[in-house]
């Protein structure tokens, strides 16, 4: 993330210094201003969604959902405690329904809890899962197509769904592979370590 941020800033500033130096400062301040506006809006929607989430939790509906999604979640995020699993479940369900703003607070909480007791691989998998998009119905695009006068606004639904599903599946496969390779190298490292110790002993 920090590398991407630095590259974005450096390249943008370099171009602006040569083409349009006046806009550099004003657009950076505009970005900062946008963040304040957005955060006010987000606080409003977080408050709503977190309120609804706590109601769902008090009624044990989250437990029910977590039970239903237990197998895929245990497969993707091994070694997480129940609380984290619940947050992941809620994040995934909200994302599937296209409620991005509801998904975010649950996602942040899930990552926070993962950090406490588990590996970095789970966080990475979680990020890949969210960043490859889980939304089933692309509501924004469809309403934009309607207002642009499309004769068949829904025609993109199936291709877009297949694109989303294949990107997410591919992401999961890559994350699992990276994890497997890591474990393998770790094992072989332990093996060579013990081997080295043994040979030391014989000397």
């Amino acid at each position: 993330m920090s590398a991407i941020w630095t590259i974005l800033m450096l390249s943008s500033l370099a171009v602006l210094i040569f083409t349009d130096p006046q806009t550099a400062l004003s657009s950076m301040l505009k970005g900062s201003e946008n963040a304040v506006d957005l955060s006010v809006k987000l606080v409003a929607s977080y408050a709503f969604w977190m309120g609804l989430f706590s109601l769902l939790e008090k009624l044990k509906i989250t437990d029910l959902l977590a039970k239903i999604l237990k197998k895929p979640i245990r497969f993707l995020f091994p070694g997480e405690d129940e609380k984290t699993e619940k947050f992941i479940t809620m994040n995934v369900s909200a994302n599937l329904l296209g409620l991005g703003n509801a998904a975010t607070p649950m996602g942040i909480n899930a990552v926070k809890h993962m950090h406490g007791n588990s590996s970095f691989d789970n966080i990475s998998t979680f990020l890949v899962l969210s960043a490859t998009s889980l939304q089933i119905l692309p509501t924004t695009v469809i309403s934009m197509r309607v207002s642009a006068g499309s004769t068949s606004p829904m025609s993109i639904f199936i291709p877009s769904l297949i694109a989303t599903v294949s990107s997410t599946l591919l992401g999961i496969i890559i994350c699992k592979t990276i994890r497997a390779i890591k474990q393998k190298t770790q094992k072989s490292r332990i093996l060579t370590h013990t081997y080295a110790r043994k040979s030391n002993n014989t000397i």
Binding site: M1, L8, S11, S12, V15, L16, T23, S27, M28, G31, S32, A35, S39, L42, V43, Y46, A47, M50, G51, L52, F53, S54, L55, E57, K58, L59, G107, I108, N109, V111, H115, F120, I123, S124, T125, L127, V128, S130, A131, T132, S133, L137, P138, T139, T140, V141, I142, M144, G149, T151, P153, I156, P159, L161, I162, A163, T164, S167, L170, C175
Partner: protein
């Protein structure tokens, strides 16, 4: 136009309230228990949000997306993606609003039912604002969280685009 998705939240909320009445739970205080955490959550997220959005705004103002799409056009055309869409693909992971403006532009220029218009719809609809999500989600993690997540997500999203556009 009322769509199915408009019913989801009101129905969920109604069911939840009804259930809490049946189970004799205090819905009012239950809601407050959740919503009181919203501001402290935002306090943690805000520094990340500001830092990322400054870069996004600067990136948009620099016009790099436009320039890059111009230089990369021949390569993308080779894979089978119309060159008009490169700008959209470059800006999509960085800025949701920026991508929306580009999409709107494509609709106006080519029409939403043209191949390019449909392709653009798939690109926008099948992906997420990767940088925004990773900045916000990682805000809960202290220390440096470097990893393979962002490149993996970007590559997979891109392959998803190709598959989606090939199906049109």
């Amino acid at each position: 136009m009322i769509s199915v998705s408009d019913y989801i939240v009101p129905i969920i909320f109604f069911t939840v309230l009804l259930l809490s009445v049946i189970k004799k739970k205090d819905a009012y205080n239950g809601f407050i228990d959740g919503s009181k955490n919203a501001i402290s959550l935002m306090c943690n997220v805000f520094p990340y949000l500001v830092t990322v959005m400054i870069a996004i705004q600067l990136f948009k103002a620099s016009g790099i997306a436009n320039r890059l799409s111009f230089t990369l056009a021949p390569i993308f055309k080779f894979i089978g993606i119309p060159s008009e869409l490169t700008e959209l693909m470059i800006i999509r992971p960085v800025s949701g609003a920026g991508a929306m403006a580009v999409l709107e532009n494509i609709f106006v220029t080519y029409g939403p039912d043209s191949f390019i218009g449909k392709c653009a719809s798939v690109i926008y609809g099948s992906s997420e604002t990767v940088f925004y999500i990773s900045a916000v989600y990682f805000s809960g993690v202290d220390g440096k969280a470097k990893g393979y997540a962002i490149p993996v997500a970007l590559v997979c999203t891109f392959i998803g685009y190709i598959i989606g556009c090939a199906l049109l």
